[in-house]
Amino acid sequence: MFADLNDDQRALRGLAREVLEGACPAPAVRRSWQDGGELDRARWAQLAGSDLLGVTVPERFGGLSLGSVEWTVLLEEAGRVVLPEPLLEVAGLAPALILAQAGDDLRDRWLPALASGKAFVAVQLRPGDLVAHLDSAQAVLVVRDDALRVLEPADLTATRVPTVDRSRRLFRLDADLTAVAPRPVPRDRLRRVAALAALGTAAMLVGVSAALLDRTVRHVSQRRQFGRAVGSFQAIQHALANCHVLVEMCRPTVWQAGYLLDHNVDAGLAAAGVAKAYASAAASHVNDVALQCHGGIGFAWEHDLHLWLKRGKSLERAYGSADDHRRQVVTRLFPDE
């Protein structure tokens, strides 16, 4: 039993942090807000060049053959820099769905292209879900009724939906699914992909929360009132100490869920829900404290803080809110109802 990141996993975290901080500094996120979150192909190529897009893709398809733990480590770093691109879907859910179905044709066609960054594939797990970057996708993987359908751009209409976080580029998808052949996927495998979606989102939220905490610590250490740094006031210190506890408690929960989804799927399904429930609630709290401790400047559109605040609010609800996942725990603990 070893319930911490090992040296390789720490090295991956270091690499991901370095690459993502270089490729996606705050001004780049600002630009993305201005251009409506358009896919930045140079940035995407940079991630591909550092092998970060194929983390969970098997080696024979050009990936790193790593597990879900490593994948959550990567996503935490993506959350930390509020990466506009949908790394969760393209470099996680898409390969997982393709591996969950049996067709070699899909694997051969898409996995190497996903790992190398040459292809960009969107995902819709549930009817009505908004789809990220649908306009740049060469294909959309749509899950319905125990089956996967691969839609080409010609099969669908994409309608842009304006979002509060303007670097999240979301679309409503309309398509006649009966016109596309379904590929059956075992139900437990689809459940695992849904759990990966919740878990990956939880991991990104941990990154968002950690970044909010870092930024807030920096701000209150510099901002002075009453002749001293506001970070020396105990009310501020205790609020931030609580945030630190929340962030640190999230991490091992997320890692363990990642491990379990690869080794013991039933336990992993439950653990991923626990992780998302906890990370969403923690993120909501940190979000609140971060704005409060910034005072008026934090409420100014021009200040960078809201890039993190707004991404956090989106992710809190994406793939199930804290309440949604707690409701599932209720159902599991009290199966009679």
């Binding site: 001293r228 020396s232 506890v245 091992p252 890692w255 491990y259 429930a277 707690r326 209720v330 603990l333």
Partner: protein, 386 residues
């Protein structure tokens, strides 16, 4: 990350489980805060010691099993599963013994460690005083040189287990004038002597678990100074790190408590209430999060990282325990007011556990102090009015 147990770990679990299944008394022992209870628990501890289970975390050279943190957690899981008796010499095994290993002379180790394992000598921790709680370094109980040793004068308070202890691990003042942290010394004080009066104090849970201890010229030989004279603050801080390292298996207790809440809720009339069920589900989530955290702690090797996680552990665990028992009270409804609590679940121990939980945010460094430490030492915030 590797959550599977190694073959060695699985074998250790089997051995522990087999032994406990065979030896754990069928009937609960008498309460620990009675003389009869102390004797019964002492006998149990000797049995544990004979099997090599008294101090898994102590190195072999001192009579322990030299087990790593994961094996300790396995032991605590199994200990709980077997509903084995509450441990007796907790402070000696968890905090004072390891401090003697760190700072003690060869003579001190030989003299004190074996009797801790057999519970021939029970220990208490004398830090807090009436005027010095959170601000520990302000303490005033003083030790003055006298012939071949010291004479101790002053008062300790809230001293757990003092009523039955024969020794105290006491932080006292040996010089004043300089910086206040610098004039403190750790003494190993024999309590069974003239000049020491122990007066038990009844706690909110009804037990006389702690006590006040008065020193009026009590004698302590020079050979019972632990570490250097005037260097007691360093010894005390190191002891607190050991204190935090002992609870690696606590999560098993909480998970078990929540499982019990679920069972109670399934049977109770109030148990179908969706608001209550939601609260219990949240506790389930919190205990799972705590388990993952403690398993991480058991895996961390780096001292600095361990110390950083220890403050988090104390905050989280104490607040979780309080929430668990508040929710249990809610579930019991009007019944929770009853003092004849034998049938209220939690092994007939509901009221004691409820009230004991209420103390957990106060002892082992109040939660406010833990937050101060996180803010200034971990987050690096500027020191201020805290």
């Amino acid at each position: 990350m590797d959550l599977s147990y190694t073959e060695d770990e699985q074998r250790a679990r089997q051995r522990i489980r087999g032994w406990l299944d065979e030896h754990v008394p069928a009937e609960p022992l008498p309460a620990q805060h009675t003389a009869e209870g102390v004797e019964a628990h002492r006998r149990w501890e000797r049995l544990l010691h004979g099997a090599g289970f008294a101090a898994l975390h102590w190195p072999r050279e001192y009579g322990g099993a030299g087990a790593d943190a994961v094996t300790q957690a396995i032991f605590q899981e199994e200990y709980l599963r077997a509903r084995a008796p509450r441990r007796l010499n907790r402070l000696a095994l968890g905090l004072i013994g390891p401090s003697i290993m760190d700072f003690g002379t060869a003579d001190q180790k030989r003299r004190f460690l074996p009797a801790m394992l057999t519970c021939d000598e029970l220990w208490c921790q004398g830090f807090s005083e009436p005027e010095s709680g959170s601000d520990l370094a302000s303490l005033r109980t003083r030790a003055e040189p006298d012939g071949d040793g010291y004479r101790v004068t002053g008062q300790k308070v809230w001293t757990s287990l003092a009523a039955f202890a024969s020794w105290m691990f006491a932080l006292v003042r040996t010089s004043s004038g300089g910086k206040r942290h610098d004039g403190l010394t750790m003494l190993l004080v024999p309590l069974r002597q003239d000049g020491v009066v122990v007066r038990p104090i009844r706690q909110l849970d009804g037990e006389a678990g702690f006590a006040e201890v008065f020193f009026d010229g009590a004698k302590v030989p020079k050979s019972h100074v632990l570490g250097a004279v005037d260097d007691g603050w360093r010894v005390a801080l190191a002891a607190l790190v050991h204190e935090r390292a002992t609870g690696v298996g606590n999560y098993a207790q909480f998970s078990d408590d929540v499982a019990q809440l679920v069972r109670l809720a399934r049977d109770a009339e109030r148990g179908s209430d969706p608001v209550l069920r939601s609260r219990i589900a949240q506790l389930f989530i919190d205990t799972e999060v705590f388990r993952a955290h403690m398993q991480r702690v058991a895996s961390v090797r780096h001292e600095g990282e361990l110390a950083r996680l220890a403050n988090i552990t104390k905050l989280f665990w104490s607040e979780l325990e309080t929430r668990i028992f508040e929710t249990a009270s809610e579930l019991l409804g009007a019944e929770a007011e009853r003092a004849d609590h034998g049938d209220l679940g939690f092994s007939g121990d509901f009221q004691r556990r409820y009230w004991h939980a209420r103390a957990s945010k106060i002892y082992a460094g109040t939660n406010e102090i833990q937050r101060n430490v996180i803010a200034t030492r971990v987050l690096g915030l500027p020191r201020g009015d805290g």
